[in-house]
């Protein structure tokens, strides 16, 4: 194989770094812990900003004033000061779901390269598949909560969310398989290093098709058109339908969790697949600031593309949702065929 030696040397360096926290080497420094905290905090604090940027850009494209970049922060603040109204039929699941969803979105930033291109303490709790597992747990809990309150809207929302997940699952699995075949690893850090080190792989068909397939998944998972729009005034709602019975601080927790999920998926898309450059290599303060700036630039590019898609693309009928997902499935298959040809 032509990737063999490069991947091997890379894998060794990654292995050394990845094993460090568990094997008692002096790698568990205060700076690494601070960096890991910074990763979680940047996802926690910047996620509403990403949402605000996308919404504001969409408003501007439609030539309206927009609510400002910081509106999601204001919304969260407002919700945290409201009363909690609980349905009479709600059980403990109603309370557990937001907490679990928020926790999962706090956990995944630990596993992925947000600011640094090397593993930090506890980064070895899971690979790409592990991160996907943790994120799915949060979504699963919200689905259960949607059914739990016996609300007709929550039930329909849960049913549709499960259906979309079922349709998206084959693509997701194939993208994971494609990444594994490309990098011979499921670790986001290895994929990142490989794409930086080998431009021929970056510009190869496998990687580009995987990017395209993952982009469709990104639209689906972050509640964007053409799959489903995020407005809460329609009867076709999916994400909003599941959480319709929530109010006050627990609704704020759920909203915040979904913003963080969006931020996490953008981070995986940018830092692992699309723009693997611009991450801090040493973990110095300047490098971290630089990688934050780079992250902002990358997200801006992806957000502009998402805004363009949302503007030109109308929403599909529910029973045509499999069309974009079938397209992304095809792209993922082509990517895998590409690995076998190479």
């Amino acid at each position: 194989m032509r990737l063999g030696p490069a991947v091997l040397s890379l894998a060794n360096s990654i292995e050394a770094a990845a094993e460090a926290p568990c094997c008692g080497r002096p790698a568990l420094t205060g700076r690494d812990i601070a960096l890991q905290l910074a990763q979680v905090l940047s996802v926690l604090l910047l996620a509403p900003l990403l949402q605000g940027v996308i919404l504001q850009f969409e408003e501007r494209v439609q030539r309206s004033q927009g609510l400002g970049l910081f509106q999601p922060y204001r919304d969260l603040w407002k919700l945290f000061h409201k009363q909690i109204v609980v349905p009479e039929t709600a059980s403990w699941l109603y309370w557990a779901a937001p907490i679990v969803a928020f926790t999962t979105t706090l956990t995944v930033p630990i596993l992925i390269p947000v600011l640094t291109d090397y593993p930090l303490p506890l980064s070895d709790m899971g690979d790409i598949l592990g991160g996907g597992l943790v994120l799915t747990l949060g979504s699963f809990m919200i689905t259960l909560a949607g059914l739990d309150t016996r609300s007709a809207y929550g039930g329909i929302g849960s049913s549709r969310a499960v259906m979309v997940a079922i349709l998206a699952e084959p693509t997701l699995i194939l993208v994971f398989v494609g990444i594994t075949l490309l990098a011979k690893a499921m670790l986001p850090f290895v994929v990142n290093h490989l794409l930086v080190a080998e431009p021929s792989i970056y510009w190869g068909p496998t990687h580009l098709f995987l990017v395209a397939a993952f982009f469709v998944l990104l639209l689906v998972e972050t509640d964007r058109l053409p799959i489903h729009s995020s407005t809460h005034i329609e009867i076709y709602m999916i994400e909003e339908g599941r959480i319709l019975e929530y109010s006050g601080p627990i609704l704020a927790i759920l909203r915040w969790a979904s913003m963080m999920k969006e931020f996490i998926l953008y981070t995986i898309f940018c830092n692992v697949l699309l723009f693997p450059w611009g991450l801090s290599r040493q973990g110095a303060a300047l490098g971290i600031l630089g990688s934050l700036g780079a992250l902002a630039l990358k997200f801006l590019v992806v957000a502009c593309v998402v805004v363009a898609v949302e503007t030109v693309q109308s929403r599909l009928r529910f029973y045509r949702y499999q069309e974009p997902l079938a397209a992304s499935f095809l792209l993922a298959i082509l990517a895998i065929v590409g690995t076998q040809l190479g």
Partner: protein, 272 residues
């Protein structure tokens, strides 16, 4: 037991030999090297040979001497010698480590030892994939404190309980809740080429057609695995059984006839 009708000395000897060979089998299970395994195997064979010899001697069974000699010769000498030659030729002594670590692989310890690295679960190598359920179980509840504190810290007013909102209507929640049929409707529609759902509605109205007197709704899913997968297999087995049934007709004459036929066949084969 064995020792009941025997003199104390032979009884003790038998027990010693039996327990010794049992001990050696545990040693075999635990040995990491194929060479050690074989030596223990040979030693155990000798023990068994001595045991059969002793039983033969005390019990007066002459044929057990032959068993003892054969055991010692084949199981104790020839077999280990042959396998040792193979090992020497193939130079496999290192790979044995995992294959023969039977005592621990019985409880999965050998596999487990290779699949974990500290608290990590490592399926292939540490550079291919890993996940650490134990760490996740520790870390995630700690992280869950953040949203819990956020909710608790922001709770200014008492929690109000209210009925679920059904778009302004107030049906019985038990009847209005999502049924399995509702939940799986999207699935059945998307994969209608597999499930082929049917839904029939019959209205029984008055003459004008305004007031519905009776409304019957039936839904079903066309079975696909039954008619296409299981039914052909069942039909095949049933068909074969029907064809073979005359063979088991229960008539003795028929059976005797069959046996006679068989005899003729055997004779014919022998003569040919």
């Amino acid at each position: 037991m064995l020792a009941a009708h025997l003199a104390p000395l032979p009884a003790a000897l038998f027990s010693l030999l039996a327990i010794g060979s049992l001990l050696l089998s545990f040693v075999m299970l635990g040995s990491r090297w194929l060479r050690h395994y074989l030596f223990v195997f040979a030693a155990q064979s000798w023990l068994i040979a001595i045991l059969s010899g002793a039983v033969g001697y005390y019990g007066g069974y002459a044929e057990l001497y032959i068993v003892a000699i054969l055991t010692a010769a084949f199981r104790g000498l020839l077999l280990p010698y042959l396998i040792l030659r193979i090992i020497r030729r193939l130079e496999v002594h290192r790979e044995v480590h995992v294959i023969l670590q039977a005592s621990s692989s019985l409880v999965g310890a050998a596999v487990a030892a290779r699949m974990h690295d500290g608290a990590l679960l490592v399926p292939l190598t540490a550079t291919f994939a890993f996940i650490s359920p134990s760490l996740l179980i520790l870390v995630m509840p700690l992280l869950a404190l953040i949203p819990i504190l956020l909710v608790l810290g922001s709770k200014r007013r008492a929690i109000r309980r209210a009925p679920v909102w059904y778009g302004g209507l107030s049906p019985d929640p038990a009847r209005a809740s999502t049924t399995t049929l509702t939940f799986s409707n999207a699935m059945r529609t998307f994969y209608s080429f597999v499930y082929r759902p049917t839904a029939d509605t019959e209205r029984d109205a008055d003459v004008g057609g305004y007031f519905v007197r009776k409304l019957s709704f039936e839904h079903d899913v066309a079975p696909i695995f039954g008619p296409l997968l299981f039914q052909p297999a069942v039909r095949l087995v049933r068909g074969i059984a029907t064809r073979l049934r005359p063979l088991q007709s229960g008539q003795l004459n028929f059976y005797l006839g069959l046996i006679g036929l068989l005899l003729v066949l055997v004779l014919g084969l022998t003569l040919a």
